[in-house]
């Protein structure tokens, strides 16, 4: 059984809807340009901005221009409305879920008002728009779906593909009737400066897979797809395409770099093919993650060569058009793949000129006219999406569904708790040295220390060295490191910011660090849906175990509060969040 796609919506640097995006891709027009909307001092950095102001987007959504709404939310709501309109479904009486991938969330608002919030009580409630989960809630309301179940996945740059994977799994497991899945991410000073501190931004147009490539250009946007179970379709709705295979795997190598042989990417692509019941030669186009950094493109090329050998289908990265839209890139590229499939069209690898021996040769659209691919229509497309911490996922989109049922026949497994560990006091952090060396501990923030201790303690008690999957829940993520980076940026300007702090600011930092430590290349997921985060994580763990996809799963709920965040809560008359709370549970089939 496959998952059918019955609608899609997209907004990014090369167009405010699917038609415009396709036109730009066909005409070879990039959306990367000088900064226009983002108020950064780094004017030298080209970016792929959505060519609309916040006010214009608010008008499109029928909102008051003066309302404070995150750009992440605005773009996401526009893409969801397009997708729903396209699908034209009757949602009455249906169980609807919105699964959103984002990491930046309401950071643009926090950046703008943080300094004032510190003094002004009236502006303080804006902090509640900061976390990813609240962005998704607001987006659901603006998109006209206030009653939908909402969930936020935050695995850095692979978030949106993981949202689509989660939505598909929920449909297969009959937890929901209709899923709207994808991702949204606005440019923020925070991550622009973070990537800049990591020295992986190119000051010129990015050139994925090119010998002279020197980094990525950041972009922004949102894209969502409407998913249903194939057998739930009524006659008047013919599916556009199918989600035929997917896999979420972890490189478990380094916090920001990819391994030389692309192990995580290799595993994700291979297992997606296996699930789709396809051979490498059945893939007619690969939309690569291809960021334009020397490291990603070499590692991804190595992985593609491992999977496809000598017969590599046309490959291109479309980030030369859109910029790297980070958490949204997975769904933006999924929609680009759907457009490619429907139009039998392979997008170019914009910016590429010179062959790099260590890289694949990307597809050149201008040679397409005379190539053999012209006459053979595209049947199946592979879409790669990788993130910091080695959160590597792959998706296969196909014109035809998987012929044989692949799900629902396995025996339902029961789940039990094997071991549990809790850290809820900073004094317990001293236990860290039982597990890691001083050298390894030196970069860890409080929350990272707590999560490491509770995870390793629980695993030890369970007698499990490497779990099959790692799932993290966190309402606010890495508050301490994020706050330090943000304050330094707001007080001292956009120069000389710490790469280490940024590297440890994404929500998936915890899950991926624990994967590296336990050498776990399996499923790796991070949920950030406010107080519901743990429920989503446990639900996912049970689903993995019940459907036989994993035998042992490590689930962690980790959150921290900085003194400033506690002060904010006190001033708003809210209950004080705990300084540190980390609870890890090892689940296993009974």
């Amino acid at each position: 059984m496959s998952i059918s796609i019955s609608g899609y919506g997209i907004i990014c640097a090369i167009g405010n809807d699917a038609k415009a995006v396709l036109k730009s891709l066909k005409e070879g027009r990039t959306g990367i340009a000088s900064m226009r909307y983002l108020q950064s001092s780094h004017k030298e950095l080209p970016v792929g901005e959505v060519k609309l102001s916040d006010e214009e987007m608010k008008r499109m959504l029928g909102q008051d221009e003066k309302a404070v709404i995150s750009r992440t939310v605005l773009m996401g709501a526009i893409a969801i409305r397009q997708a729903l309109e396209h699908a034209n479904l009757d949602l009455k009486g249906k169980r609807v879920a919105i699964i959103n991938g984002t990491t930046v969330g309401g950071m643009d608002i926090t950046e703008r008002y943080f300094k004032q919030m510190k003094e002004n009580d009236a502006l303080l409630p804006l902090i509640e728009k900061h976390d990813c989960g609240s962005s998704t809630h607001e987006m659901a309301e603006l998109a006209g779906l206030p009653n939908a179940e909402v969930c936020t996945v935050s695995t850095a740059c692979s978030s949106a593909v993981n949202a689509i994977i989660l939505g598909s799994e929920m449909l297969k497991n009959n937890e929901v009737d209709i899923v709207i899945a994808g991702g949204t991410e606005a440019l923020s000073l925070f991550h622009l400066n973070g990537f800049n501190a990591l020295m992986i931004l190119d000051k010129a147009q990015c050139r994925p897979f090119d010998k002279t490539r020197a980094g990525l250009n950041l972009g922004e946007g949102a894209a969502f797809v409407v998913l249903q179970k194939e057998d739930s379709l009524t006659n008047e709705h013919t599916p556009i395409a199918f989600i035929r295979g997917y896999a979420n795997r972890c490189d478990a190598f380094h916090q920001t770099a990819s391994s030389e042989n692309g192990e995580g990417a290799y595993l994700a692509m291979s297992e997606a093919l296996q699930m789709a019941g396809l051979k490498p030669q059945d893939i007619h186009y690969i939309n690569a993650h291809g960021t334009g950094t020397p490291n990603n493109d070499a590692s991804e090329s190595a992985a593609i060569r491992r999977v496809f050998g000598e017969n590599i289908p046309p490959v291109s990265s479309t980030k030369g058009f859109t910029g790297h839209t980070t958490s949204a890139s997975g769904s933006i590229e999924t929609v680009i793949c759907i457009l490619a499939l429907l139009n039998n069209f392979v997008p170019s690898n914009y910016g590429w000129k010179e062959q790099d021996e260590g890289c694949i040769t990307p597809f050149d659209n201008s040679k397409f006219i005379n190539s053999k691919f012209k006459t053979s229509p595209l049947e199946s497309i592979l879409c790669n999406s990788f993130g910091f911490g080695g959160n590597d996922s792959a998706l296969i989109i196909s014109k035809s569904p998987l012929p044989a049922p692949s799900f629902g026949e396995c025996l339902r497994q029961e789940t039990c708790v094997l071991a549990e560990a809790i850290i809820n006091n900073v004094e317990q952090l001293g236990e860290l040295r039982e597990f890691v060396s001083a050298g390894e501990a030196r970069r860890m923030s409080k929350l990272m220390k707590a999560a490491t201790i509770s995870s390793l303690k629980a695993l030890k008690e369970a007698g499990v060295e490497t779990p099959d999957a790692i799932i993290t829940a966190t309402a606010f993520g890495m508050l301490e490191t994020s706050e330090k980076f943000l304050l330094d940026m707001l007080e001292n300007g956009e120069e000389t910011l710490s790469p280490t702090l940024f590297m440890q600011s994404t929500h998936n930092t915890l899950s991926s660090a624990i994967a590296i430590r336990t050498k776990c290349h399996g499923y790796n997921m991070t949920y950030s849906q406010g107080k519901d985060s743990l429920d989503w994580a446990l639900r996912d763990a049970r689903r993995l175990i019940e459907t036989g996809k994993a035998k042992t799963v490590l689930v962690g709920y980790h959150d921290e509060a900085t003194p400033l965040f506690q002060e904010f809560c006190r001033r708003m008359g809210k209950p004080l969040p705990q300084e540190i709370y980390s609870r890890s549970v090892v689940l296993r089939k009974t």
Partner: protein
Amino acid sequence: MEQLINDLKLQIKEALNLEELSLEEFDENAPLFGEEGIGLDSIDVLEIIVLLEKNYGIRLANPKDGRAIFQSVKTIAEYVQANRKK
């Protein structure tokens, strides 16, 4: 030069959270990278680049250049002395 070496040791210790490394143990000739010496990695290169810009006004555009300059605290000191803007 001695003063500069000492300043750099303190700045590196702080920026990289090398809490357990005492100034006495911190040999300016010891290799900063690899298992033989202090054991720093590519992220530390980026932190040292930030530190040099902040404290000495030195801008390194390519992290690859850093690796050659950052062999030891001594080589960093020599580079800073020759290139410092503040």
